[in-house]
Symmetry: D2
Subunit: 288 residues, 4 copies
C-alpha cells in the first residue's frame, strides 16, 4: 500500500528543484496586478489601507470610514475576529462586526480588509469583506490556507512572526495551488532580540520578494513599530523600498482602543503620514 | 454598545496582573500529573514516546509498534495529518493513518500520540488516539486551541517556532480556560540564527517552565537537532535538566522515510538511546 | 579594601537610573551636528560615503576617489585593516593602505573614513584619516572604545552584529565618557534567522535612535543586503526613514574585489543610486 | 602591486574548501587533551571551574579559593579585567586583582582562569594566571586572538553573543594559526528573542562541536541562565550532553556581588551542584 501516485512523485521532483512554482517570478515574469473594486495592488498607485485594530462599535467604525473617505484612503481595515495572546482578552465582535464593516462600505465607498482565523470565520469574511486577511500566527495554518485558496476573494497574507521569506512564499504557494492567485503579501515585522520595537521590520523583504515573486507586497509599519511615533518613518521607508501598499492602524481615539492602542495613529497623524508617503511615492515615480 | 460584560472585566483585571492563571504554579503549587492509560506525565517515571514522523503504511507502523513494545517505549508517535511547508509534499494518510495507529495500539499495547491540524482532524484524532498533539505551527491557532479545550483527551502542546515561554504558557491557558487541564508541554527547539542544527533546543525552558507552571514538560530532541547523530546527547540533556519525557523520531528505515529521514533514529540507535536516557534518569532519581 | 570611591558610587546611581547619559537626548535636546572638513553629519544634507570594502591597490583607490569626486560623493571609504572571519583571508594593507587613502584625499578632495581594529591601528588611522570607523565586531571592545574617546577624530560607530539599541548607545557612551562626542552611529544590519540577506537591516533603528539620542545616524545598506541588487532600495529606505547619511560599498570592478564583491555596486549603479537617494532626500526636505 | 604572495594564495584555496583547518577533526581525528597543571580538559574527568564574577577584594578571593579547595573544584575563576556594558560600572581591579588570584593559587592549590581584554591585560594575565579567558564580546577581536596565539598559555575561548558555530571555530583557528593549539571552547548561551533567561544555552553546540573539532568544550550555565536557580539543571544538562567541563559563578555572598549577583550560586548551592554533576558524570562514564 502506498500513498504516492505517479503524478505526485513528478510534482515532488519539481518541488525539490524549486520550492515555489506558481508564485515564482520564473512562472510569471511580469508583476501581478491584483484588482479589488477600482483599486489595484502592484500598479503604479501605492494602496493605503487603514483603520482600527479591532471593530469595537458601530460608531467607531463609521467615524473611521468617514475619515478614510475624507482623506482618500481606499481600504478600511478592522478586525472582527481577533487572535489574541490571552484567552481573557477581547476576541472580537465576529459576524456583528463584519456587518458593521459592510455597512461602512455602503455608506462611505471604502473597501474592507479583515482577518479570518478558521474555516467558519473565513466563510463569513469572504461573504462580507473585499479582502481576506490571514494573520502572522496563521501563516502556516495550512488547512486554513487551503480553504483560502478556494474562498473566491483576494487574500492579504501576512508573514509569520519568524517565517523565512521562503516559508512565506511557500504559504502563498499553498493558496495558489488551491486555486487563488490573488495574493497580496504583507511584511509586518519579524521577531528578533531587539525589544525597543514590537517586531523588527524586515524592509529588505520588499526587494527580495520582488525579485523572487511576481506578487505585490505591502508593509505594515504599525505591528512592526509597536509605537505610533515610529510608524510614519517606517511607512516612508516602505514606499521608498518599493512596497505596493501600506496597512496602518489608526483609531479615532487611540488612548481608548481595546487593542493595539500604543501603535495606533490618531487621525491627524494619519493625515500627515498620507502626505509624507505621497511625497515619497512621487520620488519613486508612483502615486498614492 | 459594548462587548464587555461584568464578569469578563473582572477576569481581564486578573489577567492583567498575571498573564496565565490556570496553568500557573501560583494556582496549583504541586506538580500536575497527567495520566494516560497506565502511564503518567509528571511522575518520577520519565515517559518515552517514539515512532516515525509520518504514518506511511500499515507495515511501517506495525513494525514500529512491535519494536516499541519490545524495548519498553509506552507511547507510539506517528503523524496521520502532516503540516508540510510545501503544498506539494506528502500531507499524510489522514483517517486511514489513524486507523492503522489504532490497530497498532490493539496489537502491541502502545498508547498513541498524533497531531491534529484543524477542527475536523481534531475530532478524528480525539476519537482514535490517546494524546492529541498540537504542532509548533499551530501553537497560536487559537480557534484550534479552544476546540482542544473541549476535546476530552490529553494534549501535547508543542512550543511555537519563535514563541516566548510566556506565549507558550498563554497557549496552554487557552486550552485550560476552555476546559482541559491535561496539558503536556513540549519544547522542540526554537528558531535562531544558528544553522548547523534545524532549531536550537532551549534546554533552559525545562527549569523555567517548571518554576512558572505545574504542568509536565517533555523534550523533542529530534526536531531540535535535525540530524540523528545529535539526538541522543540532547535526549540525555533533557532528562538531566528535569524533563518529564522525551518524544523521539525513529523509523524502521530512516533512509526511506517520506519525511524527516535525516533526523530519525534507526531502531538500534533508539535502543541505545533508551539505555543512556535510563542511566541519566537514575542519576536524577527517576526511572524510564 | 574596596575599589569604590564616593564619586564613582554617585555615578553608579546616576547610571542605574539612565544607562546612557552623555549621548542621551535628555542631556542634549538638540540634534548634534558633527562637522568633518566642510561636511556635517546631522544637518539637512544627507552625507554619502562610498568606496571599496578594502584598499587593494593604489590604482583601485585612485580610480575610486576620482569617481567619487566626479559624482559628488564627499567621503571615500576603504579598509586598510580588515577584520576577517578567517585568519587565511586578506587582512588588509595596513599603513601602506592608509597612505594611499591619504594621497587620494590630496588629489581628489575627498574625506577618508577607514576602520581601526586595535590601539596601534587606531593611532595610524587617527593620523591619516578623517573619520575613524569602529566595526560591528569591535562594538563592545571596550578598551578600544576608551582609546577612541581620546583619539581626537570623529568616529563612525557601527552597531554590533547582535547588539541591542541600548548596548549600541552604551558603546557610544564609552567613547563620549572618554572625551569624544563626535560620534556618528551606523546601522548595518543585525543578525536574525533570515538567510536571504546577509543581515537584516533594522530600519526602525533610525527613528528609535533619533528619539533616544542627539547623535546622527547613518545606514550601511551594503552589509545589510549582502547582494548589490538590494542596496539601492535599502539606501532609499534609509533616507526616507530619516538617516543622516549612507555608507555604500562600490568597486571599480566588483567581480574582482578581494572582499565583499557580491554586495559591491559598480560605479554606474552607484551613480543611479545617488540620483534615487537625492530624490528621496528632497521628498523629506533634505539634500544630498 | 599585489598583496598576495604565492603561499598565501595556496592557503586561501585550502581555506575556501574548508573554513577551519587546524581546529578541524579532519586535521586531528583524536580528541585533543589540554593539560594545565595536573588537570586535563578533554579527558574522562569533567573539569569544574568556579568562583566569583569579579575579583572584588583579597578576602573575597581567599574565602572563595579555600572553599574551592575544600569541595574539590580544581580551577578558580574571577575577573580582574571586566568588560562592562556601561562605562560607569566597575571595570575590575586589574593587576592588583591578578596578584590576589596568584596568592590564592599559592595558598590553596587551585589553578586560575581569568579574562584578558586587550594586549596589555593579556600580557599580565599570561604572567599571573594559568588559563587566559577570552570573553564573548571579544570573540571576533581578531588582533587580540592573534596575540593569544603567541601568549604561551592555554585559552578558554567563549562563544560570541551571536556567533555561529562556524565563526566560533574560525576564532579558534585564529588562535591556532598563530601558534596556540591549547584551546578550550566555552558555550555560554547565545542571544535569542527569549527574555526569561539572560541568554539561550545552545546545548546542541556540545555534540556539534565535538563532531566538527577535536577541541574540548565546556559549558557556562551561569551566563546562559542569568538566574542562579536554573544553573544546576543547565550544568547537569551540559555534562549529560558530553561537555568536558563547567565554569560556574559562585560568590561567598551573592547578594553583595559587584557584578552578576543574581546568577551567582552561594557556596552551599555550589556544593549541591557538584554532587549532582558528579552523578550525571558517572551516568555518562566519566568522573568530576
Amino acid at each position: 500500500m502506498s500513498w504516492v501516485g505517479a503524478t505526485e512523485t513528478a510534482e515532488a521532483v519539481v518541488a525539490a528543484r524549486k520550492p515555489y512554482k506558481l508564485v515564482s517570478r520564473d512562472f510569471h515574469p511580469e508583476d501581478s496586478v491584483i484588482r479589488v473594486g477600482d483599486i489595484a495592488f502592484g500598479s503604479s498607485k501605492v494602496v493605503i489601507m487603514s483603520g482600527p485594530c479591532a471593530v469595537e462599535s458601530r460608531d467607531q467604525v463609521m467615524e473611521s470610514a468617514a475619515f478614510m473617505q475624507h482623506i482618500g484612503v481606499p481600504v478600511l481595515r478592522g478586525g472582527a475576529y481577533k487572535p489574541r495572546t490571552s484567552p481573557y482578552s477581547f476576541q472580537g465582535m465576529a459576524v456583528e462586526g463584519l456587518k458593521i464593516l459592510a455597512e461602512a462600505r455602503e455608506r462611505y465607498g471604502v473597501l474592507i480588509v479583515t482577518e479570518a482565523v478558521d474555516h467558519e470565520s473565513l466563510a463569513n469574511v469572504a461573504e462580507w469583506a473585499d479582502i481576506v486577511q490571514i494573520g502572522a500566527r496563521n501563516m502556516q495554518n495550512f488547512e486554513l490556507l487551503k480553504a483560502v485558496g478556494q474562498c473566491g476573494k483576494p487574500v492579504l497574507l501576512k508573514r509569520g512572526l519568524a517565517a523565512t521569506i521562503d516559508e512565506w512564499l511557500m504559504a502563498a504557494e499553498y493558496v495558489a495551488a488551491h486555486g487563488n492567485l490573488n495574493i497580496i503579501l504583507c511584511e509586518r515585522g519579524i521577531r528578533t532580540y531587539e525589544t525597543k520595537t514590537r517586531n523588527t521590520l524586515d524592509i529588505s523583504a520588499v526587494p527580495v520578494v520582488k525579485q523572487l515573486s511576481h506578487l505585490p507586497v505591502v508593509i505594515d509599519p504599525s505591528h512592526a513599530a509597536g509605537q505610533w511615533q515610529w510608524v510614519a518613518p517606517l511607512a516612508r521607508a516602505g514606499v521608498a523600498a518599493g512596497a505596493d501598499g501600506l496597512i496602518i492602524e489608526a483609531h479615532p481615539n487611540p488612548a481608548e482602543a481595546l487593542s493595539d492602542g500604543p501603535q495606533s495613529l490618531n487621525f491627524r497623524h494619519l493625515e500627515e503620514l498620507m502626505k509624507e508617503a505621497g511625497q515619497i511615492a512621487q520620488a519613486v515615480g508612483r502615486t498614492l
